[in-house]
């Protein structure tokens, strides 16, 4: 009789344990939002997918068929209210993964509408774009130059360079710039040496002081 009740107890405990584990298992197993790709595939996708859409193309698409394109403004609501691109929808970054927002975005995708994200600049939209891509919302583009470029006349802002190298626009040739600056430095030092020999010690000491002042400035 004693044996039976022990076994019963053990049985109950084991059953309870298994039930708890199954519950826990299923809770953990189904988070609402999941990655569609592992990290390494995500990296490959980042390197391959076209990232940007130009402001001109957006303007063109908006003029021709407003329903073909949806602009999503990622900036905070109060910034959006101050000024945004006409038909843009405001989805501040922090709310990007909220259920209704994601549903909106996914349904737009299903309809075949082109989705374009923008922030004040491209960098602001890059991470949200990459995140969406990793949870399965692909074919999204980032507005080239962001809101700030969109709203400045074509002539002024830095739009001359649309050459892309590894997804980054090439604006400066660093090596040439450095050479130019170093040459200037050499030139001025040559001129410095000419007037009087006393100038040379003066040249060395100020440089030291300069470094100190930069540090003290940080205090």
């Amino acid at each position: 009789m004693r044996e039976l009740s022990n076994i019963n107890r053990l049985l109950l405990l084991a059953a309870a344990l298994v039930i708890l584990i199954i519950i826990g298992f299923f809770n953990l197993r189904k988070p609402d939002i999941q990655y569609h790709t592992d990290i390494r595939s995500a990296l490959e996708d980042l390197r391959q997918d076209t990232l940007r859409i130009s402001a001109n193309e957006v303007k063109h698409m908006l003029l021709s068929a407003e329903n073909s394109l949806v602009l999503i403004d990622l900036r905070p609501a109060y910034v959006f209210d101050k000024g945004h691109i006409g038909p843009a929808v405001n989805i501040p970054v922090h709310s990007l993964l909220e259920k209704n927002r994601l549903e909106t975005i996914r349904s737009l995708q299903k309809k075949g509408v082109r989705i374009v994200l923008y922030g004040d600049d491209e960098a602001e939209a890059t991470s949200p774009w990459a995140l969406l891509q990793q949870i399965g919302i692909s074919q999204v583009r980032i507005l080239e130059g962001g809101y700030l470029d969109y709203t400045t006349p074509d002539s002024t802002r830095n739009k001359e360079n649309t050459t892309l190298v590894n997804e980054e626009s090439v604006r400066y040739d660093y090596a040439t710039i450095m050479e130019g600056l170093k040459a200037q430095g050499d030139m001025s030092s040559e001129i410095m040496d000419q007037p009087s020999g006393l100038k040379t010690p003066e040249k060395i000491v100020p440089v030291k002081r300069k470094k100190q002042s930069v540090t003290e400035g940080g205090c």
Partner: protein, 208 residues
């Protein structure tokens, strides 16, 4: 009685199986999408070009500059002290270990900051902590450190101080001390430099 024993053993085996599978489902290190979004919202990942310049000049041992451009671009121009991990190789075991085991703050650097931002995002998802991005990338480095803009006369003192600091940084990185427009008069140069330290000292004393 025997059936009860049998049932008990079956349950125990099932429990064991679940417990075994469970940890494999979760990669506890990797961030979930929601956690990743939280990190995206946090702007403290950005270091300005001025901050990075200062860290290089002071030889700050707590940071590691990681340039994610191609090796070709890196060799053409790189920031002093930076190492090159092209983004394509970022998640390979060796580079990954190199930067994740490092106790230092990693600062990702790229041309305009976009590649650096993407690198940051992937490493964040992977679970790395203490990683940063130099805002604006090397393009902004050119615009602030190599060719700093002279603030208008009426600008606040802070802006002028910043400009002087940038000139100092430029001196450090290129050997050029003077702004292009001022170069005609060479006698101005020795005068310029002594003034700067005095300015800085008073600013520090006021703040400290």
């Amino acid at each position: 009685m025997k059936t009860r024993y049998l049932l008990l053993s079956v349950l125990a085996i099932v429990a064991g199986l679940f417990l075994w599978i469970l940890p494999m489902q979760e990669n506890t290190r990797e961030l979930s999408p929601e956690m990743l979004l939280d990190e995206i919202k946090d702007q403290t990942r950005y270091y300005s070009t001025d901050q990075v310049a200062k860290m290089i000049i002071e030889n700050d041992p707590s940071i590691l500059l990681v340039d994610v451009r191609t090796n070709k671009d890196f060799e053409a121009f790189k920031l002093p002290g930076s190492i090159n991990i092209p983004m394509d190789s970022l998640l390979l075991p060796d580079p990954l270990e190199l930067i994740s085991d490092d106790a230092r703050s990693i600062v990702f650097i790229s041309r305009d900051g976009i590649l650096a931002e993407q690198s940051w995002l992937l490493c964040k998802r992977w679970g790395m902590k203490n990683i940063h991005v130099m805002k604006g990338g090397l393009d902004h480095w050119v615009e602030t450190i190599l060719n700093p803009e002279l603030p208008p006369e009426a600008a606040a003192g802070v802006e002028h101080d910043l400009y002087q600091a940038r000139l100092g940084a430029r001196q450090f990185f290129t050997g050029t001390g003077n702004v292009v427009t001022q170069s005609p008069s060479t006698t101005e140069r020795p005068q310029n430099i002594p003034v700067t330290p005095r300015k800085k000292k008073t600013a520090t004393e006021g703040g400290c």
